[in-house]
């Protein structure tokens, strides 16, 4: 289904190999798949329960493209199981039936826990969009782990910059962390009888530039941090 969806969108995907019966779809490893494919990948992971769009966050006079998400059911966002390989990383979404491969070269065929592998360049635009998305997945997972159940964890809105691309995987990974800590805004709507619960949850979350939790019961918003434009400009060496 996912495979057909990518082909139906007329994206430059192609079937690269078959690993023990599992098709490997080239989505930017050697093909020209880029931003739109990244966006569609995110849509697949959220199962169309929300809106995915590109926006901008202006840092001085430099507009940095952001991945903007309106999430209808962030409780259901689950982080992938990550498998490290010499050629990159495999991210398995077993519930969804597919894996994402972030590679610098296609690994040898191996057994897969899913029915489809979407392979992309670890430093390319598809990976950039996907990695920015994972910041939101991580924060949603931490809120769930704190104890918010499905009926109390309602919606989310996040905007995370896509850091400048680089062919260097080490620099890319550094920039991904910069995006999370200085260039991301994550907001979630929760229900808690007491604001103290919201505040404790906020304090427990991993660092993001700005995280805010809205308590639907008390109508109050609690914010930790702010988008750090000056530091972001320095960290990304934007002139």
């Amino acid at each position: 289904m996912i495979k057909e969806d990518f082909f139906a969108r007329k994206e430059p995907v192609k079937e690269l190999a078959v690993w023990q019966g599992v098709p490997v779809l080239d989505m930017g490893l050697t093909t020209r798949c880029a931003w739109a494919s990244g966006k569609n990948l995110v849509k697949q992971v959220i199962q169309s329960r929300g809106e995915v769009a590109f926006g901008e966050i202006w840092v001085g006079e430099s507009p940095l493209v952001s991945l903007d998400l309106c999430l209808d059911d962030p409780f259901r966002l689950h982080a992938p199981v990550v498998e490290k390989l010499a050629e990159g990383e495999l991210h398995h979404f077993t519930d969804l039936g597919f894996s994402v491969g972030l590679f610098h070269a296609l690994p040898a065929a191996r057994a897969m826990p899913t029915q489809l592998l979407l392979a992309t360049s670890e430093t390319g635009p598809v990976a950039s969009v996907y990695r920015s998305f994972l910041h939101t997945v991580q924060t949603a997972g931490e809120i769930r782990a704190f104890g918010f159940g499905e009926t109390d964890f309602l919606w989310g809105w996040t905007s995370v910059i896509l850091p400048p691309l680089s062919d260097d995987i080490v620099l890319t990974e550094q920039r991904v962390q910069v995006a999370a800590k200085m260039g991301s805004v994550c907001g979630f709507w929760l229900r808690a009888g007491q604001d103290k619960t919201i505040q404790k949850c906020l304090a427990s979350l991993s660092e993001r530039a700005e995280i805010r939790l809205h308590n639907l019961v008390s109508s109050n918003t609690f914010v930790r941090g702010v988008l750090r434009e000056t530091e972001l400009r320095q960290a990304l060496n934007l002139t």
Partner: protein, 332 residues
């Protein structure tokens, strides 16, 4: 028959609901109810959670398919907040014939206001002045879509009244409902940016035939379960946060002579007060709200005829910030 009746707002809206909402109710977090009489109710937040995607469909159906809603973001002092952007085709028809909530019917012992393209069906009610501000109507349709902002689930009484007034058979009657205190409620009210501007122009005698295209952007600062607070906040977003742009074709003087009378900021004695407080002063009754208070925050005219641009009004950042944070919220 009016020249534009082929636009078929009710058919467009029904298609949106039948093709994009009803088959995907679970993914959208909405509930579909088939009333015993045959009408369909789509609950987008009363007994379900709804979501941003459902909210987009609510707005686009309510506009009779003559507009597109997308989400963006706006910087509110130091915080980026989500925003809704509405781009309209045939703005006068989309707004005056469909989107304005000025179709009043009795329900549960009170008069309630509905919006949606059902408003433009043949014998439009006399008291829906905005529907009569333009000539568009749809004769002899077999389908109607109405939208209502309510905490009560529409029932047979409401559906029956709407069928009786429009002449539409129950199986063609669709009612979309959401309270203010949910994401669909917040988005659909914040999407009423151009909606707030056009009636203000009508009040001042500006011909809507001059309006060629339109779009509006509004921040969605916060959502809350508390209906009264939610109601105040979404209206804060409109009177202190929305910016609408109208592409018009007219003489510049037609714009300049009314420019200062348009924005909410003309109400200097109350400007800056949260809408919840303003509404309380009017005993929470729209009938008692001064007409000048239902005014856009900021309006931009782009005159195609002369190439000149005019703007009026200003964004009330302090009030929006207050709405965003709430009474006891804080930044650490």
């Amino acid at each position: 028959m009016p020249k534009n009746s082929a636009l078929m707002l009710n058919r467009n809206a029904r298609e949106i609901l039948e093709q994009k909402v009803i088959p995907f109710a679970d993914e959208l977090g909405v509930k579909i109810l088939h009333l015993p009489g045959g009408s369909t109710v789509i609950d987008m937040g009363i007994h379900c959670r709804g979501g941003f995607v459902a909210a987009r469909h609510f707005v686009e159906a309510c506009l009779g398919g003559l507009g597109a809603l997308t989400y963006g973001k706006i910087k509110l002092k130091t915080h980026w907040v989500p925003s809704v952007r509405v781009m309209l085709t045939e703005p006068a028809i989309a707004i005056m014939s469909a989107f304005i909530a000025s179709y009043r019917v009795p329900w549960k012992g009170h008069l309630v206001s509905l919006s949606g393209p059902g408003r433009c069906i043949k014998d439009r009610p006399e008291d829906d002045h905005f529907a009569h501000a333009i000539s568009y109507y749809e004769p002899e349709v077999q389908e109607a879509v109405f939208c209502i902002q309510t905490t009560d689930l529409p029932d047979e009484e409401l559906a029956g009244e709407l069928c009786r007034k429009t002449g539409v058979p129950p199986e063609g009657m669709f009612i979309v409902a959401a309270p203010t205190g949910c994401v669909v409620g917040a988005v659909q009210v914040c999407a009423r940016n151009v909606e707030q501007a056009l009636p203000t122009l009508v009040d001042r005698g500006f011909p809507l035939g001059n309006v060629v295209e339109a779009y509006g952007v509004t921040p969605v600062v916060s959502i809350t379960d508390a209906e009264e607070i939610a109601y105040g906040r979404v209206n804060d977003c409109l009177i202190y946060g929305q910016v609408s742009t109208l592409y018009v074709r007219c003489e510049d003087e037609e714009i300049t002579q009314i420019l200062e009378e348009i924005p909410f900021s003309k109400n200097r004695d109350v400007y800056g007060l949260p809408f919840q407080e303003l509404f309380a002063r009017c005993e929470n009754d729209w009938v008692k709200v001064p007409r000048d208070w239902d005014a856009p925050c900021r309006l931009v005219f782009m005159n195609l005829k002369t190439g000149n641009t005019f703007s009026t009004g200003s964004i009330g950042y302090d009030t929006l910030q207050q709405s965003f944070m709430g009474k006891d919220g804080f930044v650490v």
